[in-house]
Symmetry: C2
Subunit: 441 residues, 2 copies
Amino acid sequence: MKRNYDIDEINSLKSEINHMDPVDLAESFDEMSVKEIMLRFKLLDKDLAADTFAEMDRDKKREIIERFSDDDVEELITELDEDELVDTLQELPANMVRRVMDEFVVGDRRKVINRLLGYPKDSVGSIMTVEFLSAKAGSNCETVLKRVIASDLDADKLEQIWVTDKSLVLLGYVYLADILRSPDKTMEDILEPLPGSIEATDDQEIVAKIAYRYDLSEIPVTDSEGRLLGIVPVEDAIDIMHEEYEEDLSNIHGVQDTSDEDYLERSCFAIAKDRTTWLIICLITATMTGFIIQRYESLLASSVALAAYIPMLMDSGGNAGTQSSTTVIRALYTGKVHFKNIFAVMSKELKVGLITGSILVVVNFIRMTIIGAHGLSISLTVSATLLLTVTLSKIIGGILPLIADKVHVDPTVMAGPIITTLVDTFALLIYFEVATHLINL
Amino acid sequence: MKRNYDIDEINSLKSEINHMDPVDLAESFDEMSVKEIMLRFKLLDKDLAADTFAEMDRDKKREIIERFSDDDVEELITELDEDELVDTLQELPANMVRRVMDEFVVGDRRKVINRLLGYPKDSVGSIMTVEFLSAKAGSNCETVLKRVIASDLDADKLEQIWVTDKSLVLLGYVYLADILRSPDKTMEDILEPLPGSIEATDDQEIVAKIAYRYDLSEIPVTDSEGRLLGIVPVEDAIDIMHEEYEEDLSNIHGVQDTSDEDYLERSCFAIAKDRTTWLIICLITATMTGFIIQRYESLLASSVALAAYIPMLMDSGGNAGTQSSTTVIRALYTGKVHFKNIFAVMSKELKVGLITGSILVVVNFIRMTIIGAHGLSISLTVSATLLLTVTLSKIIGGILPLIADKVHVDPTVMAGPIITTLVDTFALLIYFEVATHLINL
């Protein structure tokens, strides 16, 4: 559908969109035709246009770059911050990356961008910004103040000035307000020390951990020698934490990470594709439980009542195991537990398992007595199995994440199907073995 | 164990701890006797002592306040930021709160603290800081700069200067660096607009959402009229996001929130207590599945082979349902789905369920053919049940979180036991009904 605007409408549209936040603007573009979006880009201030572009999804970014004139693309690319440009380039197809790099990124900027593009995906280096101001420890505050005033960095990059020694090794930072308030001092005098810095080759997950632990508002990134390379603002740490959270949920429940796209807008086939692999894995692992039940078919045939308690026993085991793994994964994440504590974890989960298991046995015994459907031998079999299963599940759930972490597998990947399969298998084996002995008494 | 230090040791200890981060210091205090801690407090700079105290856990805080002299407590309390003091007071027993408020918090500060203590727990008001600098829109940059230089606020509270109109309604903010670079302009000229602000009575969860959506480094808090009351720095938003994340995990897996305490240090009874309630709920709801299996006991006795597929069918249903609920909960959280989309969600999950269900049926049919243990009628029964269960589970998993959100129940609370119980019940009913018809053919 084509729409024509008169001059008043254009003016009011211009004023409206120039007062919007780039995030909201980019979201409103989701529903618009490229024509409508291009009109709005012409009306936006250059700064705001670049920020909005950076927030758009990858398909829209590609369309914009394809349809814009060379001059317009150049203006846009020039206005993007280095880290925004790197993000964008990572989302574009190879031929478009070449066009953008060859035609619109020149001189020093090209060197910086190429260096940033060289860091592995999901590394700190690939998300850091290289826009910061640093000063030597001995510099006079007044001199630094002059550099701030003359700087063409955005103001939000000038809240903290980074302080290095003569060989550019990072020492700490100084707040702009402190520089203002003590013009006669040197950087060294008012230096704020760093609780920790991270290296550009580290996994980006560490940004969220450091920001969470030390409440930093900017996290400095160095090379292996401690020389300052860039900064990750805490706003980005929040995004990373959110990503990691989504990733954990995905691992635990077998849903692929689709944070880029809207659930309602994705095709059913795409969603089904994301989910099927995990369901197939679970289905195949369930073969194990089928085998065990088949093996004990004659026992089951002689005492069909046993079947009624299989779901309850498996669920209780699974839940007990997941509780332990969730707790241990959290403790791993915050650094309160390590592989070396594996025996402490085992002994703790053994005790917790015996306590909760005993309580469950009592509750279940009361429940079975009230319902009163089956005899004492079945009640005893179910009780014994419940206690053993819950205890064993707690131990398995407690130590598997530690082992996963030790062998550098994401513990949340293990938390799902592996624990369930192990626990289900053990629960059934215990159940039928106990039944064989108790019922044939 | 008592230890004596000579003067050199004291000096080197002093220098060592005064170069540490408050977070690390507070953590190292966990293992120390109160005597050792008190010695270190005497050696710490006042600022660092207060920051470290704010990071300590509640029991240690109580001990310190009990054992310190009045003068020392007064010094500590005076150095705490208002939000740190409020946090501390919320952790102390009532008699200690009275003592601290009556003796060491005076004048204007007492008014502020009482107002902050009046906000409900988990509200934005209870975590915001009231340390900020604001200026009227018409103020000249040079005048504001003088106020910054004269201000006794910590430098990290002066990175953004907040701009209000004449009735103190918040309009936006200005970066300190921009004020420096344009001394002749007014606040209004260089104003950065706000994408959104939050009210002091809002739930703190909204801080994390706003910070995530708009990448803000400070989130302003207003009253219902839009007048500026306080600020929440994004570092705190990270803490809140982490808390919410833990809460979600706890709800889904029935583990109580114990982020305050270390897993390894908690007593087994405390851990068992946290976990038992949820396990009992799951056990009781499993009664339902037991009933159904009992009702079809004669069918099961005549065809024991059916039992072998019960775990697989229930697991597949449960997993399929959890996948959908996880996806919908995430979409709810980011505001991409609402209750009004319930029919769209149903239709989407119906289609996704049919697709994934069909694939699983094929995989399972191959699996059963390879193993070849049972006849065609059982293969058909299992296949039909698998398709129906997966589809129904997807729909249930998709709409339950929407309903929970609509009736203001946390959707993650519903994601666990309720979905599992519903799905298990349906899976068994479908299985036995299909079997009754197919096997008796």
